[in-house]
C-alpha cells in the first residue's frame, strides 16, 4: 500500500522569506553608498570653491585698490607737482586699506572703485615681474616668476625622466626575461613609493654636493639637482604607464614587422612605439603634471628665492636658488599666516594657478588617449 502524502495545510508557512525587510535594508545600503560616492564630488566642489572664493578674495583685497589709487594720482591731480603727488601718495599709503572709502575725506579725493581694484589686481598678477608678496612695501605679485621656476624644474625633470622611463618601459616589455621582470617591477614600485621628503633629502644633501664637484658655480640650493631628482621620482610613472601602452600593442604587429625582415629594434621603433604613441604621450603629460605639483623636493633643494623676470635671465638659470609655486605655498604655511591676511589669500591664488595648470594637463592627457588611441580589436 503506497504511503499517502498529504500536502501541508499552508504552503506559505514553509517558504516565506522576509522580503520587505531585506528590501528596506538594501535601499538603505544603496543610499548610504550613493552618499559615500557623492563625497568624491563634494571633495572636488570643496577644492574648486575654496580656491575660487579665496582667489576672488585675494584679487579684491583693498591693498590693490590702495595701490591703484596711488598709481592714478598723476591723473587725479593733473596740476600738482611731483613732490605734492608723492606727499599725497604717502598720505594714502598710511591709510588703513580696509577703511579706504571712509578715510578718503582726509585726502580729499575719491578712491577708485573696488571693481577697478579687482581688475588692477588681476593685471598685476599677470604682468608684475617680481614676486615679493611678503615684503612690507614695494610688494609685487608676478605669478610668472613662480611659474617660470616651476617650468624650469619640470623641464629638467622631463629631460631625465622621459628617456630613462621610456627605455625602461621598452626593456621591461620587450627585452627582459619574465623572471627578471618579476624582480624589476617591485623595485620600480619601491622607487615610486619613496616619500617625496626622502627625495628632497637626497637632492639637497647628496646630489647637490656631488654636482658641486662637477660644476663649481652651483649653489647650495638650485633648480638643477632639484629637477634631476624630481625626474628620478617620476621615472616609475612614465615607465609603468608607457609599459602598459606598449603591452597593449598586439603581438601580430611585431610579428608582421619581423616577417618583413625588420630587426627587433626596427620593429620597436617603426611599429610598436608609433602604435603605442598615444599612451606614451599621455604618460609623459601625466608625469609633467605630477612634477609641476610636486612639493617637497623643490622646496628643500631648489630654494626660496623668487628670481625676477628681467634681463639678467636669473629666472632661467638652473644653478641658482629659485622658488616654485609649491615652495611658496610651503613657505607661507610654515610662517603661520593669520586667516584673512594678504599672505593667506596669496597661497590660494597660487594654488588656483597650480590647480588650473595641472587640471589642464590632466584633461589634455585624457583627451590625447581618447583621440589618438589605435584600436586593435
Amino acid at each position: 500500500m503506497p504511503t499517502e502524502f498529504s500536502s501541508p495545510p499552508d504552503k506559505s508557512s514553509l517558504w516565506r522569506p522576509n522580503r520587505s525587510s531585506s528590501r528596506q535594508v538594501e535601499s538603505i545600503v544603496r543610499i548610504v553608498c550613493l552618499i559615500f560616492a557623492g563625497i568624491s564630488i563634494l571633495t572636488t566642489l570643496g577644492i574648486v570653491l575654496s580656491l575660487i572664493f579665496e582667489t576672488i578674495d585675494f584679487f579684491s583685497d583693498p591693498f590693490f585698490r590702495q595701490a591703484l589709487w596711488i598709481n592714478r594720482l598723476p591723473d587725479l591731480l593733473p596740476d600738482a607737482s611731483e613732490a605734492q603727488i608723492q606727499a599725497v601718495g604717502e598720505q594714502i599709503q598710511a591709510l588703513d586699506p580696509t577703511q579706504l572709502s571712509s578715510a578718503s575725506q582726509a585726502v580729499g579725493l575719491e578712491p577708485p572703485s573696488p571693481i577697478a581694484g579687482f581688475f588692477y589686481a588681476i593685471t598685476r598678477f599677470f604682468t608684475d615681474r617680481r614676486w615679493t608678496p611678503l615684503f612690507a612695501n614695494d610688494t609685487d605679485f608676478g605669478i610668472f616668476v613662480l611659474i617660470s621656476a616651476t617650468l624650469m624644474t619640470t623641464t629638467i625633470a622631463l629631460i631625465v625622466a622621459v628617456p630613462l622611463g621610456l627605455l625602461i618601459a621598452i626593456f621591461l616589455s620587450e627585452y627582459a626575461a619574465p623572471k627578471l621582470r618579476q624582480v624589476l617591477k617591485p623595485v620600480l614600485e619601491l622607487l615610486a613609493g619613496v616619500p617625496s621628503v626622502v627625495f628632497g633629502y637626497f637632492a639637497l644633501l647628496t646630489v647637490t654636493p656631488f654636482l658641486q664637484q662637477l660644476i663649481p658655480s652651483l649653489q647650495g640650493f638650485n633648480a638643477l639637482s632639484a629637477g634631476m631628482v624630481l625626474g628620478v621620482s617620476i621615472i616609475p610613472l612614465v615607465a609603468s604607464l608607457s609599459e602598459d601602452a606598449i603591452n597593449a600593442v598586439p603581438q601580430d604587429l611585431r610579428q608582421g614587422a619581423f616577417a618583413m625582415g625588420a630587426t627587433k629594434r626596427e620593429a620597436i621603433q617603426a611599429v610598436v612605439l608609433p602604435a603605442a604613441l598615444s599612451g606614451i604621450v599621455a604618460s609623459i603629460i601625466l608625469a609633467m603634471s605630477r612634477a609641476i605639483g610636486e612639493t617637497m623636493i623643490v622646496t628643500l633643494a631648489a630654494g626660496q628665492n623668487p628670481q625676477p623676470i628681467n634681463g639678467d635671465l636669473g629666472f632661467i638659470n638652473p644653478f641658482i636658488p629659485v622658488m616654485t609655486m609649491t615652495a611658496f605655498i610651503v613657505q607661507v604655511s610654515l610662517g603661520d599666516a593669520p586667516f584673512g591676511s594678504l599672505a593667506y589669500k596669496t597661497i590660494f591664488a597660487v594654488g588656483m594657478a597650480l590647480f588650473l595648470i595641472t587640471l589642464t594637463l590632466n584633461i589634455v592627457s585624457y583627451w590625447f588617449v581618447r583621440r589618438f588611441r589605435e584600436k586593435y580589436d
Partner: protein
C-alpha cells in the same frame, strides 16, 4: 608586316645579390645591440640611483638610530632629539585615516560597481575620481586649510590631528575607490549570479559572497593608500601641522606615549591635539644647517622607510594570496 617589339615586354627579372638582400645586416644588428644595451643601462641607472639613495641614508642615519632616538621628544640639541612626537602623530594618522576613508572608499566603490546603473551620475563620479587622482597633494592641503581648519573649526579644533587626518583621508580616497572597484571586478560574475539565483537580494549577495571574495584585494588597496598617506608632507604643512612637538596627542602621558584606547577614553584629547608627523619632522631636520640634524633626518628616514616597507610587504602578501585564490 614588320614585327614591332611589344611595348609591354616583361622586364628582365633582377636577382638580388646576397649582400643587397641582407640589407647591411651586420650594421643593423650592431645598432640593435646598442639599443638593447641602452635599455639595460637605463634600467640599471634607475636601480643604481635607488641604491645610492638607500646607501646614503643608511650610512648617514644608522649611527643615530637608538632606543633614545625612538623615544625622545625633539630638542634643540641634535644628540638629545628624538622622534616620539612624530611617531605618535603618524600613528594616530594611521588609525584615523582608515576609520574615515575605508567605509567611504569601499562604499563608493560598491556603489559604482554593484549598485549603480550606467547613469550620468555614476559617469560623473567616475570622471571626477580620475580627476581627483591627478590633483597635486598640496592642493588638498589648501582644501583642508579652508574646510577643516577654518570652516569646521568647532569640530576639528583648528590645526589638529583630526583636521590632518581628514585631509589625508580625502587625499587617499581615490586610491581606495579604484582598488575596491578592481577587487570587485575580479570577483567572477558566476558568484553573483549564483547568489541571485538562490533568491538573495543584491545586498545579501554582495555582503555574503562578493565582499568576502574581494576583501583581500580591498585591504591591499587600503594599505597602499595608508602608506601613501604617512609619506605625505606637503598637505600637512599647508594645514599647519607643527614642526616642534614636545608632547604626544592623547591622554597617555608616559611610555609608550600612544595608546589606541585613548580614542575611546579621551577622543577629544586625541582628535583636537596639535601634532606633527614623521615626514614633517624629517623636513624640519633636513632644512636646518647643522650636519648633526641631517643625521637625525637620515635616521628618521630609515624608520619611515622601514614602516613603508613593512606595510608594502603586507600588501604584497595579501595580493599574492588574493591572486592565488582567484586563478
Amino acid at each position: 608586316m614588320a614585327s614591332s617589339q611589344s611595348q609591354f615586354s616583361t622586364p628582365q627579372p633582377t636577382v638580388a645579390t646576397v649582400s643587397e638582400f641582407a640589407g647591411n645586416l651586420p650594421q643593423r644588428y650592431l645598432v640593435d645591440r646598442a639599443f638593447r644595451l641602452a635599455t639595460w643601462v637605463a634600467t640599471a641607472i634607475a636601480i643604481a640611483v635607488l641604491g645610492w639613495l638607500l646607501i646614503d641614508v643608511l650610512s648617514q642615519g644608522l649611527g643615530r638610530l637608538s632606543w633614545q632616538f625612538l623615544t625622545s621628544f625633539p630638542s634643540r640639541r641634535p644628540e638629545d632629539a628624538g622622534i616620539i612626537g612624530a611617531l605618535a602623530g603618524t600613528f594616530w594618522v594611521m588609525i584615523i585615516v582608515p576609520i574615515v576613508a575605508f567605509p567611504i572608499g569601499v562604499g563608493a566603490g560598491l556603489y559604482l560597481e554593484e549598485f549603480s546603473d550606467d547613469t550620468w551620475f555614476s559617469r560623473l563620479i567616475e570622471i571626477n575620481i580620475n580627476n581627483l587622482a591627478g590633483v597635486p597633494s598640496i592642493i588638498y592641503g589648501l582644501l583642508g586649510l579652508a574646510a577643516f581648519v577654518r570652516i569646521m573649526e568647532p569640530i576639528t579644533g583648528g590645526r589638529t590631528v583630526l583636521a590632518g587626518a581628514l585631509t589625508l583621508a580625502l587625499l587617499v580616497l581615490p586610491i581606495i575607490i579604484v582598488a575596491t572597484r578592481e577587487a570587485l571586478r575580479a570577483v567572477p560574475e558566476g558568484i553573483r549570479l549564483a547568489g541571485l539565483a538562490m533568491g538573495g537580494s543584491r545586498w545579501q549577495v554582495v555582503r555574503d559572497h562578493v565582499l568576502p571574495a574581494a576583501l583581500s584585494g580591498i585591504l591591499t588597496g587600503v594599505i597602499l593608500a595608508l602608506s601613501r598617506a604617512i609619506g605625505e608632507t606637503a598637505p600637512l604643512i599647508t594645514i599647519g601641522a607643527l614642526t616642534f612637538v614636545p608632547f604626544t596627542p592623547g591622554c597617555t602621558e608616559n611610555f609608550p606615549y600612544f595608546n589606541p584606547l585613548d580614542l575611546v577614553r579621551c577622543p577629544t584629547d586625541v582628535a583636537q591635539s596639535p601634532f606633527t608627523v614623521m615626514p614633517i619632522q624629517i623636513f624640519n631636520w633636513i632644512s636646518r644647517p647643522q650636519q648633526a640634524f641631517h643625521e637625525n633626518g637620515a635616521a628618521a628616514i630609515i624608520v619611515l622607510l622601514v614602516m613603508l616597507v613593512l606595510m608594502n610587504s603586507v600588501a604584497i602578501a595579501l595580493r599574492s594570496r588574493f591572486q592565488g585564490r582567484r586563478s
